[in-house]
Symmetry: C3
Subunit: 378 residues, 3 copies
Amino acid sequence: MDAEHFSRAVHALPLIDHHVHSVLPRDLERVEFEVHLSESAVAAPAGTTHLDSQAGFAARRHCAPLLDLPAHSAADAYLARRAELGWREATARLLHASGVSTSLIDTGHAGTSLLSNPDFAALSAQEVREIVRLESVAERLIDAGVAAHDFPDALRRALGEAAATGAAGFKSVIAYRAGFDVDPERPSDAEAIAAVADERRTNADAPARVSHPDLLRFLLWSGADTGLPLQLHVGYGDADLDLARCNPALLMPWLRRLPDDASPIMLLHCYPYHREAGYLAQVFPNVYFDLGLAINYTGAASTAVIREGLELAPFGKLLYSSDAWGLPELHLLGAQLWRDGLARALWEFVERGEWSESEALRVAELTSSENARRVYQL
Amino acid sequence: MDAEHFSRAVHALPLIDHHVHSVLPRDLERVEFEVHLSESAVAAPAGTTHLDSQAGFAARRHCAPLLDLPAHSAADAYLARRAELGWREATARLLHASGVSTSLIDTGHAGTSLLSNPDFAALSAQEVREIVRLESVAERLIDAGVAAHDFPDALRRALGEAAATGAAGFKSVIAYRAGFDVDPERPSDAEAIAAVADERRTNADAPARVSHPDLLRFLLWSGADTGLPLQLHVGYGDADLDLARCNPALLMPWLRRLPDDASPIMLLHCYPYHREAGYLAQVFPNVYFDLGLAINYTGAASTAVIREGLELAPFGKLLYSSDAWGLPELHLLGAQLWRDGLARALWEFVERGEWSESEALRVAELTSSENARRVYQL
Amino acid sequence: MDAEHFSRAVHALPLIDHHVHSVLPRDLERVEFEVHLSESAVAAPAGTTHLDSQAGFAARRHCAPLLDLPAHSAADAYLARRAELGWREATARLLHASGVSTSLIDTGHAGTSLLSNPDFAALSAQEVREIVRLESVAERLIDAGVAAHDFPDALRRALGEAAATGAAGFKSVIAYRAGFDVDPERPSDAEAIAAVADERRTNADAPARVSHPDLLRFLLWSGADTGLPLQLHVGYGDADLDLARCNPALLMPWLRRLPDDASPIMLLHCYPYHREAGYLAQVFPNVYFDLGLAINYTGAASTAVIREGLELAPFGKLLYSSDAWGLPELHLLGAQLWRDGLARALWEFVERGEWSESEALRVAELTSSENARRVYQL
């Protein structure tokens, strides 16, 4: 085998995207396209564009040919062709080309503006399962007027129902709303009740947006009690979070307190703390991680990030995700860059005689689909 | 094109050093040369030398031929030849060979021991502009006896005058003196006045050395109010700072509070937090960064650092600087290593078919000069 | 010379392992072997194995041929052959093949379950010196009933005796027990006495396990007073520590307070903070570091880690260690992977014309043995 054959073999493996979002079901103006191809929430400053970036270059390299354009086509030409085809056709082409067989879709972030899960499944010809965001569940309960003292039981019931009706796992965004340097102890029901009452008092007229640290911690522990995989946003995201407080190393006091039968903890993205995540995956039996949106956003430079993901963690602990949101280009790029970078990183080990070919291919298979299949029982 | 042609094309591009210092206008003993080729303030321990380092090896590789010696000449031979030529001739050769067209010189650190800006411009045949250090401005006002209650207005006037008389931007060293984990809120004039009074009281007989966190914060906000680029020392520096408190991720609460028309914020050096800096440059429209002295001091290993600088940040947000201080060898090495490493990192993307040649060359041009030209309006 | 000749030259250099432990003097079941080839303290979760990891793959690649099996043999075949040979023969083969000439053995961690130092020396044909763990010395004194008010003097006497009877250096595990974010000031004898009394009170019936921050700090300062090299666990280790509190950057306030004649401070492992460690080694004359167990556990990916270790630090400041504990496979792999990765990283510099061959070989020699020989006066 040579590098090219090996890469082809990796591309032929099944791929499960264990953390992803749906797509925007409409045509997009350039400015909107640009912003969605970045974690920035606002337009680029004068004289620059978000498309002058690894993600922008990768989109023009890998997506343009799927819309019948030459690789590296200019952004305007790409967007014109995309509009000509219409969002539905462009999306179908990109999702099919991604080769993803199963997507676990987190519906928690502005999910109503996106294509529904059944429609995503139909358009992509993928199997789709839902990841339920804990904060959204809590907010629905609060908005529905559940009394504070009923909240803990109502939450446990709601999570149980979600699990019973097909949720593949849960997700917490405590990283965004409090950071990981919160009290690691399990909060009591009484603390949760007081926190809900407090949220109600300070935010009486608007839709609930859970932010009380005790309530966020209660959700985290409740998620870990379900036994279903619990995804945590970690590291890099948009400008709302405080990056230094999203370092997964700060989770260690909490991880040590989890009971043996707690949920698998799935650390998402992790960049630039993916080495820390690999360490946690080695020393805590129930910790798993992925490189998520860091692969899309580092584009041609993602091989090094993937190689760093292959340092400390046992190979049964690393998973694939794209964390794509809104643009099917991100679904395609995640898959393309993961396979290219993984094949390149693994082949280096083979070429130097340090790994056998069959070992390398097995690690590609574990990380691309088998680990997700096992942990999520797909 | 091949790797060599591409490298030559990168070397032919204009280069702007947006953060640099002047040179020592005198001949140097070996021990002094050694210390200046390191961020250490003291001699190396017995049995070792600061020249056994990436910077030392790079100097002997790249500077020796410019002084008519073979590459990799021994340190003693190099220093003997340097003395023979005299500092002025050696400096002229090294500065010319750097190919830098414009230097933005920070005059704040022991500036009086260095060649004046006009003399640097004459010796180097470069355009020179000044970067004004906020702490130095404040210290001059305090030493001139400005009354505490007049300080806020006097500072604003002084910054306005600096801008009007040609300053290209300002710089803060709050990283050194307080760290980034200070209160992110804008201090009032009254807080600044109290802090100046406090500095005066505790340090009545010596020249002012601003260290009160409220005063440092006031300078920071005042710099960001000017609209001119505001440089911040970030990450790696000498042994005075507390590295963990110089992590740019700690700036996020402050960055979120800046108004839309605030100054461009230029994060300097950033190592080993350059990935964090790239993230900030992606999600905050007014954040820019460079790899500064990390390139010089990682020498032959700097390609990996440069590649990491090309991960998350939009390419309109990364700039070149050498942060050279004192030794023209550092001016030469910064430029040489930046161009070599940048060409190598970018060519990898081209070679694998991920980027086009023209894209790669445009990114080299943006980061080597165009971004600086645009942001500093040169 | 080419890459292969250079690698052979690096492999022919003497090697000193300045931080290592002894081996388990018995045959091992698979589950025990697995756990010792990981920093995890427990079995891998269902469906996974600790041997599906860089360390596991490296063991099958490099150790199997030394036990007469083909490279990449399956784990079961490897363990069967290992049992067939018996631990003593397998251990002797692996230790001999490591090519280590001198091991400085830290006897502090469960040392009594391991082969004694003289027996290790005999089996390995290596010179062996002891590294004495400060916390173990303190615990022996407390368990022996030394009165709290006599403790400071008794400790100083004990350290002096250890130095006089052949200890090559000391080691602190304050990283594990308190983290580096403790008070950096030197504690008084009175504080140490109060801390010992407190330890006694709260832990009257069990063997002492020093955990009071003041006492740990007193040990640290006492170790630094001896003048002998003082090793500090830094960064990555097992799940007991809080990784973020083991960042060596947090040591800066303490390092600045050390007197000029304090001990050389040897930062161990450091991953994922090895760049921070390299910085400290540049700016503090008495700071040294190694990559320790990070090399073993990143296996085929360790070249990048070694290259990062060659960024900022002067080459007189980087040392080799394996931190092997229990399994002679780890002693072999540390040596093998260090030499392979070091040769590869250095040869890149030579191949690009940035370093001369003789410089590269000298750096290999400094880091593989000369620095250890000089600092430990071996």
